[in-house]
């Protein structure tokens, strides 16, 4: 009877058992690892108050299954490993392994045939079923316990704080979506209102749109606040660039001056209300017309003259104010540069003072005032000539016309400047609107669902001072610091001349004073004992030296 089928059958059965055992072991170990990992993840979520996402369980199950299959495929028993195992398990002394190798090498005769026959004979009483396929019991129990615990943790609901946080995130997301839309709408609206080309250039709506489009829709409240604050800062910077406070102040002062006269009141109102474009038109309407008679021209010029003089007075006033302040600053600057050995001199400070006192607008107003003054004088001169001789000579007329042209030129320049100011002012106002919208949206984001505190009567006082407690001075309650080199000194340092002198204090008093000092030092608790003994020895040695002679 051929022994080969019997041996192969035995090996096949053992191999099946081994594969089954391998599957059971891999499954149990995989379950243990996956359950352990899942438990750790679940604990991490639960400790933080969150509910464990179901996706983790699904992912773990899939990963565990894949790992188990892969592990089983890799750990499946080969024919050789089965033979090795069977030899070891049934104490066959390499019988099966040798037979397997001999068969693979096609050795079938002589001693090999005897070996095969002997192998089959030895296998006959053996039971392959004796190979246990059961997984390690304790590991299996542990794995199941861990898995059960991990699954149980999955049913735990999130805490109230986490729910609030999630609600806040959702609210933040919705708010950011709404705010971004509102800002975009506001920009569109401002853009539509901006018809002037210069204003559009100043406003630069494309850049503003880029900035707004860069805003993200986020669930993170802090991140949202950060980005809106950043946008607001950028808008403020752009707005700062367009600000013309000095000129506005000057025109405000001019408005106060112009208020004093009835004829210039409308102009004053426009300056005060920062309607600079309209003010420019008003000034243009004051322009004298050369075709009219001299008296009419004078009458017409009187209004412009009044206005220009009032405005020039405002410029002078401001110059006077800023001149005094800049002078003091210049003095400080000079002293500091002198200390540091700097070379900048009075020319720098003088130019600074000039620039601050009115600037381009002030210069334009003063030019207008002087031109108007000159025109007025030339008209007066021409009028006097007309009254005296009944006619005006050509020289006087020419002078009047030249002055008139100069006034027109200065008036145009001032009107142009005012118009430019008006445009800047409008752009600035629009940016201010955007800034305001940004700050409002930040305020809206900061309002948490629990904003406003607890309801009436729901408050709690966690701190109550039942009795008055005295403040104990531990020596650290105040910290006094002086400025070195400043302030009056409480002590004086006296130096004596070299040589001998006579003491004004008796020896006994001096000794008592020293003793008192030593005693007070020695009785201090905060001085280490070693230092105390050192001081004692020092004074004792002094006395000994004194007593020796």
């Amino acid at each position: 009877m051929d022994p080969q089928p019997r041996i192969e059958g035995f090996l096949r059965t053992v191999r099946q058992r081994l594969n089954l055992r391998s599957l059971a072991r891999v499954s149990v170990w995989t379950l243990l690892v996956v359950a352990g990992a899942m438990l750790a993840i679940a604990l991490a979520y639960v400790v933080q108050g969150y509910a464990v996402p179901r996706s983790w369980y699904a992912a773990s199950a899939v990963a565990g299954l894949a790992a188990a299959v892969a592990g089983w495929v890799l750990s499946r028993s080969s024919a050789e490993s089965t033979a090795r195992f069977a030899d070891r398990h049934f104490r066959l002394q390499d019988t099966l392994l040798s037979w397997l190798h001999f068969r693979n090498q096609h050795h079938t005769d002589g001693f090999y045939a005897l070996q095969a026959e002997q192998t089959a004979t030895r296998l006959q009483p053996l039971q392959p079923a004796a190979v246990s396929w059961r997984p390690p019991g304790r590991i299996a129990v542990l794995a199941i316990a861990l898995a059960t615990l991990a699954v149980a943790l999955g049913f735990k609901q999130p805490s109230k704080a986490v729910l609030d946080e999630l609600a806040l995130e959702q609210a933040t997301l919705a708010s950011t979506v709404e705010i971004n839309k509102d800002l975009t709408d506001l920009l569109d609206e401002l853009n539509a209102q901006t018809e002037d080309k210069e204003e559009r250039e100043l406003l630069n709506p494309d850049k503003l749109r880029e900035m707004i489009e860069a805003l993200k829709e986020t669930t993170d409240q802090k991140e949202a606040l950060r980005q809106y604050a950043k946008l607001e800062t950028q808008l403020q910077k752009a707005r700062t660039k367009l600000e013309q406070r000095r000129d506005e102040k000057l025109l405000n002062d001019a408005a106060k001056e112009l208020e004093n006269e009835r004829e210039t009141k409308p102009l004053a109102q426009k300056f005060a209300q920062q309607q600079y474009k309209e003010a420019a038109q008003e000034l243009a309407s004051m322009k004298p017309e050369g075709a009219k008679s001299l008296s009419e021209q004078q009458k017409q010029l009187a209004r412009l003259k009044a206005a220009s003089q009032r405005m020039a007075a405002a410029v002078q006033n401001q110059r006077g104010r800023s001149g005094s302040s800049s002078t003091s600053r210049a003095e400080k600057g000079q002293s500091s540069t002198a200390r540091s050995g700097g070379q900048s001199g009075s020319s720098g400070s003088a130019s600074g003072a000039k620039g601050e006192a009115g600037g381009e607008l002030g210069q334009a107003i003063e030019n207008l005032a002087s031109s108007v003054q000159e025109l007025d004088e030339s008209l007066n001169k021409a009028s006097q000539q007309e009254r005296e001789s009944g006619k005006v000579d050509s020289d006087a007329l020419g002078e009047c016309q030249a002055c008139e042209q100069a006034v027109e030129k200065e008036l145009d320049e001032l009107a142009k400047y005012l118009k430019k100011m008006g445009i800047k002012c409008e752009a600035c106002n629009k940016l201010a609107k955007l800034c305001q919208a940004c700050s409002e949206c930040q305020g809206g984001l900061c309002q948490s669902p629990n904003a406003g505190g607890k309801k009436a009567g729901m408050g709690s006082n966690t701190f109550r001072a039942d009795s008055e407690e005295e403040l104990l001075d531990n020596g650290n309650t105040t910290a006094l610091q002086g400025i070195k080199g400043q302030g009056p000194s409480q002590t004086t340092v006296e130096t004596a001349d070299d040589g001998t002198g006579t003491s004004s204090q008796s020896h006994v008093a001096k000794k008592r004073s020293f003793e008192r000092q030593v005693e007070s030092f020695v009785s201090r608790e905060d001085v280490p004992e070693q230092v105390k003994s050192g001081v004692k020895n020092y004074f004792e040695s002094i006395h000994q030296v004194e007593e020796t002679p």
Binding site: Q93, D94, T95, L97, S98, W99, H101, F102, H107, D109, G110, F111, Y112, A113, L114, Q115, E117, Q118
Partner: protein, 329 residues
């Protein structure tokens, strides 16, 4: 079953039968020492030489003498002493008068036999000990430029006292390597002592008769060389031998520390032959790792040279080999 298988089976049965017969015959006189007797007989049927070591009076010489009686082979005994010369062992040329002509003729020494008992081999000087080198390996003797073959089977069964005893010379490594097994003769147990006294104390002595001749011994050697060995088992054998070398990466830390030189390939050959004999005696037709591990110590213990540190620590090569086997299990 094929003819080859039948022949193999008959050869195996004859091997076991003859082996058991010799063992039984030896057992008539030698009390106990079953493992020792089996190891000596395994070396004999494998064609190897045996070095028996033990204190005087343990029956080493008696064992060899009994084996020689159980085998129908020419037996010679040389008592090694410090004044023994090589010519006293291998033979010498003698001036002979042949029909009035003086001629030099080779006078064979006691080495020309089948079983040579080299009693107390370590009492001779190294020069005399070395006279056996060619004989043991080549099974021939060269005198005056002429080589004289020794008949087969030929095996040397040497005895020696422990090296610590006075008046002994350690055997050269080259000669030690030529011994198939080095076997340690141990003190008999109490019951064995009683039996020894019973057998040797009276006037009657057991009669030992020859149960095997030279041809049968040679046939047994041929039979065992046919026993198959699996590649994995052979790898295991090679791993053991290689692991005794301190410069081998797989060698245990103790080998690296305590061993100066490891076992030679000749040791692996001895292990293989002995493993096959052991497998056949166990009724198996293949060599197992157990066979290899069992014969490793007697086959390798005299082939390993300890380092100075090993010698100083009083380490025995048997302990080193046990660690090697344990590691490679």
């Amino acid at each position: 079953m094929t003819l080859l298988a039948d022949a193999a089976k008959q050869s195996t049965e004859q091997f076991i039968r003859t082996f058991d017969a010799i063992r039984e015959e030896v057992g008539k006189f030698i009390v106990g020492q079953q493992q020792l007797v089996e190891d000596v007989l395994m070396a004999v049927v494998s064609g190897g030489h045996v070095l028996l070591e033990g204190v005087p009076g343990l029956g080493k010489t008696a064992l060899v003498h009994t084996i020689s009686q159980a085998l129908d082979l020419k037996f010679q005994r040389i008592q090694f002493t410090p004044d023994l010369l090589p010519a006293d062992i291998v033979g010498t040329q003698v001036l002979m008068d042949r029909e009035g002509r003086k001629t030099l003729e080779f006078q064979p020494g006691p080495v020309f036999c089948n079983i040579l008992l080299a009693d107390e081999i370590n009492r001779a000087t190294p020069k005399t000990q070395s006279a056996l080198l060619e004989t043991m390996q080549e099974r021939s003797v060269t005198v005056a430029g002429k080589t004289h073959p020794i008949g087969t089977p030929f095996f040397v069964l040497a005895t020696q006292n422990p090296i610590e005893q006075d008046g002994t010379f350690p055997l050269p490594e080259a000669q030690l390597d030529r011994f198939f097994f080095k076997l340690l003769v141990k003190m008999p147990s109490h019951a064995e002592f009683a039996k020894i006294l019973d057998r040797t104390g009276g006037n009657a002595h057991p009669k030992i008769s020859a149960v095997a001749n030279g041809e049968e011994i040679l046939h047994m050697g041929r039979t065992l060389r046919e026993v198959p060995i699996d590649g994995a088992v052979q790898d295991y054998l090679i791993h053991i031998v290689r692991a005794t070398h301190p410069d081998n990466d797989d060698a245990p830390a103790d080998v690296k520390r305590l061993v100066r030189h490891g076992a030679s390939p000749r040791g692996a050959q001895a292990m293989l032959a002995a493993s096959r004999a052991r497998a056949l005696l166990a009724g198996r037709y293949h060599v197992s790792r157990d066979d290899v591990a069992a014969v490793a110590i007697p086959a390798l213990r005299h082939r390993i040279i300890l380092s100075f540190e090993g010698e100083a620590d009083g380490i025995r090569t048997d302990d080193v080999l046990r660690k090697v086997i344990e590691q490679l299990k």
